[in-house]
């Protein structure tokens, strides 16, 4: 309790910034924000009362928005990471440290405003029952934990704890609103499981060298992706490709099969986003390929320095194919297990080709260094955010239009023409400039 009061005082003091003019502006701004949130919640509440059957959709939308803000909030530079003071210094059990961190994190204007919003909604909307409130808070909590996991890369011993918490929340949420929310809970739970696998692979890869000897702790591989790329340079492609395949596909493939079994009727409607994401190279590209130079900047810039533009692209493709083939075969297996249709193999083929081209251009034309340990989905760099969005949207569009072959091929042709133009005018022509700017930016 004393600690809670201490943190509250600390937070208030930081919020007011010693009572200067800036501090009072903040207070005024926060009061205005509070008013906006309250009015917005009242408005949403009344809207909910008049929506009839579509109430659940709006509640789901509100939850998704809160979740998106929670994740987004984590990537503002002044967002407090797991305070190092809580982690190594105090000889407390991990659960208590987590509790302290939770208090520290939740005592922020953002979470207070979100809670106020939900409470006002509870008072004004009939459809927003206490069960719905509980579900919304669970949903928020799960994304809070996810954001924390993404943020606290180095503290690997906390990961299993946080994952267990998140899975428990996911299970609770799924129990409360099984059918409506399962399609969201399942992938998030998958992401959390993936984080644990990542951390294990990372730790293993970071500590062993070519000769199989342990490296000095803390040295060596800086990021998970760098561990994989280091394995590629060490010419261990088969083992690496298998690890990648297992990590990136199997867990999600199992999830997809399970989800589809339960929701067969919605296979071609609500679930097609999931299908497009997980049965495509999106996970692979999102993590490993977009912003490739960022993971091992020294290796990539040296390669670019000593290769012609075409040779660099060829080298990239050679590595990409090693990873993509097992990934693609797994995806194909899953797709054919669910439905035998010619459009899926066609989609897969083009999705993998397009993702390779997109990934290459994104990573080469806008490289950015990655320095943190567990950079899941590499959200930290602008390159990756932009790259992931473009790749994701494009793959989904391709999946969507795979139903109408005419449109599918029009989009594909347009994409390939644009890619060729970019290759010729932006990449090949400006290659030397590109190498220099890459070196300057990422080293």
């Amino acid at each position: 309790m004393r600690f809670l009061l201490f943190i509250t005082r600390l937070k208030c003091r930081a919020f007011l910034q010693n009572g200067g003019a800036d501090g009072w502006m903040r207070v005024l701004f926060s009061l205005l924000m509070l008013l906006v949130v309250v009015f917005y919640a009242i408005g949403t509440g009344y809207l909910l009362n008049y929506l009839g059957g579509a109430q659940q959709v709006l509640i789901f939308g509100i939850n998704c928005t809160a979740a998106a803000f929670t994740l987004l909030k984590g990537y503002f530079p002044n967002n407090t990471p797991f305070r190092s003071i809580f982690l190594p210094v105090h000889p407390l059990p991990a659960w208590r440290k987590m509790g302290l961190q939770l208090v520290y994190d939740l005592l922020t204007p953002f979470y207070l405003l979100v809670v106020i919003f939900y409470l006002v909604l509870l008072l004004t909307a009939d459809a927003f029952t206490p069960a719905a409130l509980l579900n919304s808070l669970l949903y928020l909590g799960m994304f809070y934990l996810l954001e924390r996991i993404l943020k606290m890369q180095q503290a690997s011993r906390f990961m299993p704890l946080l994952t267990v918490c998140s899975l428990a929340i996911a299970a609770g949420g799924a129990y409360l609103q099984w059918r409506a929310m399962f399609s969201i809970y399942a992938p998030v739970a998958g992401v959390l499981l993936l984080m644990v696998v990542y951390s294990l692979v990372y730790r293993q890869a970071a500590r062993t060298s070519l000769t199989g000897r342990r490296l000095v702790h803390g040295a060596g591989v800086q990021t998970v992706a760098a561990a994989f790329w280091a394995a590629v340079i060490r010419r261990k492609p088969v083992r690496t490709a298998l690890v990648i395949g297992v990590v990136f596909k199997l867990i999600f493939c199992a999830l997809i099969l399970f989800t589809l079994q339960r929701n067969r009727a919605r296979f071609d409607t609500d679930l097609n986003v999931l299908l497009a994401i997980f049965c495509s190279p999106l996970m692979l590209c999102t993590y490993l390929v977009n912003n490739l130079p960022g993971y091992m900047p020294q290796v990539f810039s040296k390669t670019a320095y000593l290769a012609t533009p075409g040779a660099l692209f060829k080298r990239f493709l050679r590595v990409y194919v090693r990873f993509a083939v097992p990934d693609m075969l797994l995806a194909l297996g899953v797709l054919l297990a669910v439905e035998t249709s010619f459009r899926y193999p066609l989609f897969l083929l083009f999705a993998y080709i397009n993702a390779a081209i997109l990934g290459f251009f994104i990573s080469v034309l806008a490289p950015k260094k990655v320095t943190k340990g567990l950079d899941f989905t590499s959200f930290r760099t602008n390159t990756s955010i932009a790259g992931n969005l473009i790749t994701g949207l494009f793959i989904y569009a391709l999946f969507y239009f795979s139903r109408s072959p005419g449109w599918f091929f029009v989009i594909e042709t347009a994409f390939l023409i644009i890619a060729l133009l970019v290759y010729h005018f932006s990449y090949k022509k400006d290659y030397d400039h590109l190498v220099r700017s890459m070196t300057a930016k990422i080293i």
Binding site: S209, L210, T211, R213, L215, V216, G218, A219, G220, V221, Q222, A226, A227, W229, A230, I233, R234, M296, Q298, V299, S301, K302, T303, Y305, L306, A307, T308, D432, H433, V435, R436, S437, T439, A440, I443
Partner: protein
């Protein structure tokens, strides 16, 4: 132009409007061993980076054997080490050399034994080949970087402060190596260690505030050895009287 391996013509570099190099002009002949000297922040590393094509100059051109230097041939014939930030921390020393060897000529340039021999010479038995570069000390990183610069048996070797961070024994080994190396190839190095510079280089390029103050032979600079290099350099860069008054003021 004949005999010129490098020719820098009117090189100017500005960072956000601030001039780091101002119309730098000089040529390096084949077989020269040139030392780039100057105070901290004078523009030495910037100059080396521009020469290597790692940094875009604002104005001017760099020629390699009479042609613009941004060719693959230039890059493959040049070896450089200009800072530990260019070393991949994820790889071990030996893996780094193997990777470079593969890059330069698909691995055919040097055998693994040769690479190990290169490492053994500089690391002198220290178990560095299988250790991640990220776990190296600063001096070991310097040595790994220098080994990396030598993988392709370069015609032009560019080193930025190669002696800094090295122990006395390693300095002696590097000195012996460079003294032999300069007999057959071209060398360009920046250093603050004047005793080593004196033993290795035949030409000096002194830069101050982005401008070339001096570019000629070592003999000319030291008036045929009558003055020491240190003395001559101080005379050029610090023409004022001693700082004794300032030092007394600082101490008091």
């Amino acid at each position: 132009m004949e005999g010129h391996i490098i020719s820098m013509q009117g090189i100017t570099k500005r960072f956000n409007g601030k001039t780091a190099l101002d119309k730098v002009q000089f040529t390096i002949e084949k077989g020269d061993s040139v030392a780039v000297l100057g105070r901290n922040g004078a523009g030495k590393t910037t100059l080396l980076r521009i020469l290597l094509g790692l940094l875009q100059q604002t104005e001017g051109t760099v020629l390699y054997e009479g042609q613009p230097q941004l060719t693959l041939a230039f890059r493959k014939k040049t070896g450089f080490y200009i800072g530990k930030e260019y070393l991949p921390e994820e790889l071990s020393g030996m893996e780094y050399l193997q990777f470079l060897n593969h890059l330069y000529n698909g691995g055919r340039l040097r055998s693994d034994e040769e690479l190990r021999g290169l490492m053994d010479y500089f690391f002198e038995g220290a178990d560095a080949a299988g250790k991640a570069i990220g776990a190296y000390s600063f001096g070991m990183m310097q040595k790994a970087g220098i080994c990396g610069a030598l993988v392709n048996q370069p015609e032009l070797l560019v080193l930025d402060e190669p002696f800094s961070g090295l122990d006395a024994f390693s300095c002696k080994k590097l000195l012996a190596f460079l003294q032999q190396y300069k007999q057959q190839r071209t060398l360009l190095l920046s250093s603050h260690d004047l005793s080593f510079v004196e033993k290795i280089c035949n030409k000096l390029l002194v830069i101050d505030a982005g401008k070339v103050c001096y570019y000629n032979t070592m003999e000319d600079f030291t008036v045929n050895g009558r003055n020491s290099l240190e003395e001559s350099l101080f005379r050029l860069l610090y023409p004022q009287e001693s700082d004794n008054e300032k030092i007394s003021w600082l101490i008091e």
